[in-house]
């Protein structure tokens, strides 16, 4: 079975765009080329990257998970409350947080596969419910004062590299190997590209879909703990709107929003592009709204421009015949 892959052209364009934004950023601020700064800056994008890896699979199987950032917030809030109000040992509270995040993912998955509900509405609802639950738990306070072993995960280094950046890189390689080199991974791609055919060849499409949601939820929970450690606080409004960055990275990377076509290297390149752009613009003191505009244009253009080119070549071909 052949599976549609994003064309080489798309990834080549992404590489060019990364290089271009790197050069522009270097021009905008001379601090940008400081390697130590760049390496530290990567830690800001690890959560987005991990969630984007999970989201790539969710979108590959034809679904979407809008609730990831809210799941992140709930995990952080729950872990924080269990630890600070109910005096749970922090490791146990973390386990509980992770369990709940995976359960929330499972609930999304079961609603989508068992009740045949569209994932867009299901996760729209769970998005509000999960962040709402986080708000009920902690209100407007921040939970702070975590022990030393937990706080500052972004400051741990392995050689010159931040540990969590290496974690993201390792996760990306593992993810890529899973999707392209393992039987289960190939089944996942099959379930995404032609669900009916996959079902007839004995692949449990619904099982794969449910699992994609569980993994997405669990990873969101993990990112919740990571962000809690990184910023040293748990709040209900953590990572608000982050699902947009996550989906942008996936779609910009060449994954088809209607499923069946995905690229892990593409997702990572797109994440790198977003990271370079945001870091560069941040250093150049460009306000966050303008940064959002740039990412928004990039997202729409990443699909519109190739479509436009395709239309032109088709028109030329029609004229030639």
């Amino acid at each position: 079975m052949t599976i549609k892959k994003p064309t080489w052209n798309h990834q080549f364009t992404l590489v060019l765009l990364v290089a271009l934004s790197f050069v522009i950023s270097a021009h905008l601020s001379r601090h940008f080329l400081d390697p130590a700064y760049l390496l530290t800056a990567t830690t800001n994008f690890v959560e987005t990257g991990l969630m984007a890896l999970a989201m790539t699979v969710v979108i590959l199987v034809g679904e979407i998970d809008l609730s990831v950032a809210c799941n992140l917030a709930l995990t952080a809030a729950l872990t924080g409350v269990l630890w600070s109000h109910y005096s749970w040992p922090l490791p146990l509270a973390c386990c509980m947080g992770l369990t709940v995040s995976a359960m929330a993912g499972l609930a999304n998955g079961l609603l989508v596969t068992r009740l045949k509900l569209p994932s867009l509405t299901v996760t729209l609802g769970s998005m509000a419910l999960l962040r709402g639950a986080a708000q009920v738990l902690v209100g407007d306070r921040s939970i702070t004062g975590f022990p030393d072993w937990f706080a500052g995960v972004d400051q741990r280094v392995v050689g010159p590299f931040p540990a969590i950046t290496l974690l993201l890189a390792a996760a990306a390689v593992a993810w890529w190997a899973f999707l392209t080199r393992s039987v289960r991974g190939r089944m996942t791609e099959a379930a995404g590209s032609n669900p009916a055919a996959a079902r007839l060849s004995g692949v449990s499409v619904d099982g794969i879909r449910t699992r994609a949601f569980v993994i997405s939820g669990f990873i969101a929970g993990l990112c919740g703990l990571m962000m809690m450690s990184r910023v040293g606080a748990a709040r209900w409004d953590m990572a608000q709107g982050r699902e947009l960055d996550v989906i942008t990275a996936v779609v910009l990377g060449g994954t088809d929003i209607s499923g069946g076509q995905a690229s892990i290297p593409g997702t990572m390149l797109a994440l790198l592009l977003i990271a370079v752009m945001r870091t560069g613009m941040g250093l150049a003191e460009i306000n966050p709204e303008t940064q959002h505009v740039a990412v928004g244009i990039l997202l729409a253009a990443s699909i519109a421009v190739p479509n436009l080119l395709k239309m032109r070549t088709r028109r030329k071909a029609a004229l030639a015949t």
Binding site: L115, K116, G125, M127, L129, Q135, V251, N287, G296, A304
Partner: protein, 327 residues
Amino acid sequence: MQAIADLLRRLFRAREAGVSVFLVMALVAAAILAPRFYSLQNLRNLLLDTPLVVTVGMGMTAVIVCRQIDLSVGSIVAVSGMAVGEIYRAHPSMPTPIAMAVGVAVGALLGLGNALLVTYLKVPSIITTLGTMSIYRGLAFVIGGGRQINPNDLPAHLVSLSISSPVGIPYLALLALVIFLLTHVFLSMSRMGRAIYATGSNPDAARLSGLPTEGIVAGAFIACGALAGLAGIMYASRFGFVNPAQTGNGFELQVIAATVIGGTQVTGGSGTAVGTLLGCILLAAIVNILTVAHLSGRWQLAAYGAIILVAIVSDGAGRLQSTPVVS
């Protein structure tokens, strides 16, 4: 007897049955838990809380029936509010109808942007409007140079639209009511309205039977944008300010939630203006009841999520039961 039973069965099967049941349950719960919900002052507050969501919800219903989605409405509300506010700042004596026309025009233009991306460049609507949501939000900052429109920039006659009333109902609510009635008639009775359902339920069949499906989708996006533009003026009137960051932030979630709760399915082809109206009232009533019952505002978002999930789950479970399983 038979006629009554038939009528009841038809009522129960209606798309709006679910949301109606929830609304009745909420109203009964309010009567028991928070009788103050029924004070005139509070009902008046309710009347002022719904018009914005109803107005944009009508456009959103058309868009979702077409099998599309528009996440950019909140940002359009902000752009339109900022644009009109800036004009008021320069010309405080601008009459309200002109302000409304400007708001609608701005909104329609932004909706046209969405429409072109979706129909001409074939960018899926969720990606298009995810992008334009950020782009339009940025535009709201550009228009006012990052400043907000303050109460003293807005003329008294605009603000009075949400205070004064000819028949006890503020103009703002009357405007939303008119928009609802027009949308209802348009969607359920006009040829074009039915074409929207045809496009959403089976785009290929609609195209093959000669319907201009792309034009219909484009029209829905432009109408949704125009209504969001109108909601920008209504926001300025209701709250007396427009803030480029705050205005309309998260509004798309409210509108989509109200539409979905009202029985419109994101898979396209089904949904009614009446359902959306009931969905808007249900959401506003729940928030209002929580406030009146002295449950702090922090329960609001969770209640939203719970009601969305309960509504779509009961709808989905009903559908699974009533349709034979084909596999």
